[in-house]
């Protein structure tokens, strides 16, 4: 299998083979992260820029570690410290960065389509680190990697995604990726947070959390925000937690070997209780570890693509 894509803008653009190729490649890189010398010279001399218009420690750090473990040089730019504050457009920022010859730029932005716009403007590779509510492809890839590692397969599973689905790029990317496989995807959350027409993507909707997670193999909890853009979607955090917070005894409704996932950062006590976050079913920390491996794989494949 050959990798030909210049950018990773979303799961939408990937075929099933390409998704599996990333996962298989990530396997080799995971091993690097577990050794004493967590470095290989593969991307030596390459420049990786992270351009984050939205705050994020987790994703940015993960990309930075991934790049450094491949011996690349990294530069971090965050919107608050950059000329963005002075009114520079995305296009101008991109062109300026391009003049410094980066090999790959990872962009996180609050608006859907920003990475796509960037990819049209610049010649270097673009990785979407999250664009508004649209996609977060490396998150979905590391989620699938984790599921596959724990369950041995991505087919025949019941996967439940819980939370603010309508605003979640993590939910979208995961749904797009899982559609290639033979698993049941259930979306659970308050009706105000489930987009109408989502069933057209092949997922089932269930508002009752206990019902939704019955016999689940995977439960993915999403972070909750009470308000977005001045519109209330739920009356209060407390109410959300009562009906959609995952507690230990609720988990007993799932399969015995269920895994609990969360893209982070967690609102402990809101969507996920301590005894679940730290409990035996949680793979949340492994997701973080896998994130570095998956991002190493993505960097490796993009920069080594067939010209």
């Amino acid at each position: 299998m050959n990798w030909t894509k210049k950018d990773l803008l979303g799961i939408t653009e990937l075929s099933k083979e390409e998704i599996l190729f990333v996962l298989d490649t990530a396997d080799s890189f995971k091993e690097v992260s577990q050794r004493d010398i967590k470095k290989v010279p593969t991307l030596r001399g390459k420049t990786v820029i992270t351009l984050f218009y939205e705050p994020s420690t987790r994703t940015r750090t993960s990309f930075e570690i991934a790049a450094k473990r491949l011996s690349a040089d990294t530069i971090n730019i965050s919107a608050s410290t950059s000329s963005y504050v002075k009114g520079e457009t995305l296009r101008d920022t991109a062109k300026n960065l391009e003049a410094m010859n980066p090999d790959v730029t990872i962009i996180r932005h609050s608006m859907p389509g920003a990475p796509h716009m960037l990819a049209r403007i610049v010649d270097s590779s673009i990785i979407n680190g999250g664009d508004g509510a649209h996609e977060h492809p490396t998150q979905a890839l590391l989620d699938l990697f984790t599921m596959r590692e724990k369950k041995g397969t991505l087919d025949g599973l019941k996967i439940v995604i819980v939370g603010d689905i309508i605003h979640s790029r993590v939910a979208r990317s995961n749904i797009f990726a899982l559609r290639h496989f033979d698993s049941e995807i259930v979306c659970c959350g308050p009706p105000t947070m489930i987009p109408p027409h989502i069933e057209e993507l092949g997922v089932t909707v269930e508002y009752n959390l206990k019902k939704a997670i019955r016999n689940a193999d995977v439960i993915m909890m999403l972070r909750i925000q009470k308000e977005r853009g001045g519109v209330t979607y739920i009356p209060s955090i407390k109410e959300y937690s009562t009906f959609f917070g995952l507690s230990r005894d609720l988990v007993t409704n799932a399969k015995k070997n269920v895994i609990i996932m969360h893209p982070g950062p967690m609102n402990r006590g809101v969507e996920i209780m301590d005894d679940v976050a730290d409990g035996p079913y949680s793979v949340i920390l492994e997701q973080v570890e896998n994130g570095v491996a998956v991002r190493m794989a993505v960097l490796y494949l993009l920069l080594g693509r067939e010209a």
């Binding site: 050959n2 990798w3 298989d24 490649t25 396997d27 050794r35 470095k39 290989v40 593969t42």
Partner: protein
């Protein structure tokens, strides 16, 4: 367009046998030895050498598998960037690592393999065993054990075929 056979099945077997004996002799025993096969055919050769040595010395010899793609100096010119896993189930520190590969030519693969092992630890020494040395070095690296030495022309390809991968055992020269 005929392929020239350098080693047939019997000859391959004898050569591997000889290499195994040489390894034991040069190292005066096998206690500190660890075999590391370089993917892909080096792994099968290492497996065969391992079995032969174990048959002689009656001692279990650990085997490691090394994928050197990440260390190659031409990694981004490869036709396929596919990675295979490196799996070294022993401590690399203070051992005598015997790298095993099928064909040695420029020496670059060996350089990559040495770098890879050094990132895993500090062996006491590293030795190299190859089934075929076809000359044409681009780096000052030499095998400690060579099955056969054959100076091939630039238009020729020396190929090792092993039954585990290719269905038969032989070493042939092919016009490339």
């Amino acid at each position: 367009m005929k392929n020239k056979v350098l080693l047939d099945k019997k000859a391959v077997e004898r050569t591997i046998n000889r290499i195994a004996h040489e390894i034991i002799e040069k190292n005066k025993g096998v206690e500190e030895l660890r075999l590391i096969g370089i993917r892909t055919r080096g792994v099968h050769l290492a497996q065969r050498i391992k079995q032969t040595i174990e048959g002689i010395e009656h001692i279990s010899l650990p085997l490691g598998v090394l994928d050197i793609t990440m260390y190659r100096d031409d990694v981004f010119k490869l036709k396929s960037p596919e990675l295979k896993k490196t799996d070294i189930p022993f401590d690399v520190n203070n051992i005598t690592a015997i790298l095993v590969d099928d064909v040695m030519q420029t020496g670059r693969t060996t350089r990559a393999a040495i770098d890879a092992i050094m990132d895993l630890g500090r062996p006491k020494r590293i030795q190299l065993a190859v089934l075929v040395d076809r000359g044409d070095r681009e780096l000052p690296i030499h095998p400690d054990y060579a099955g056969i030495i054959h100076s091939a022309n630039p238009e020729e390809d020396v190929m090792v075929r092993l039954s585990e991968v290719d269905g038969k055992d032989e070493v042939i020269v092919v016009a490339s």
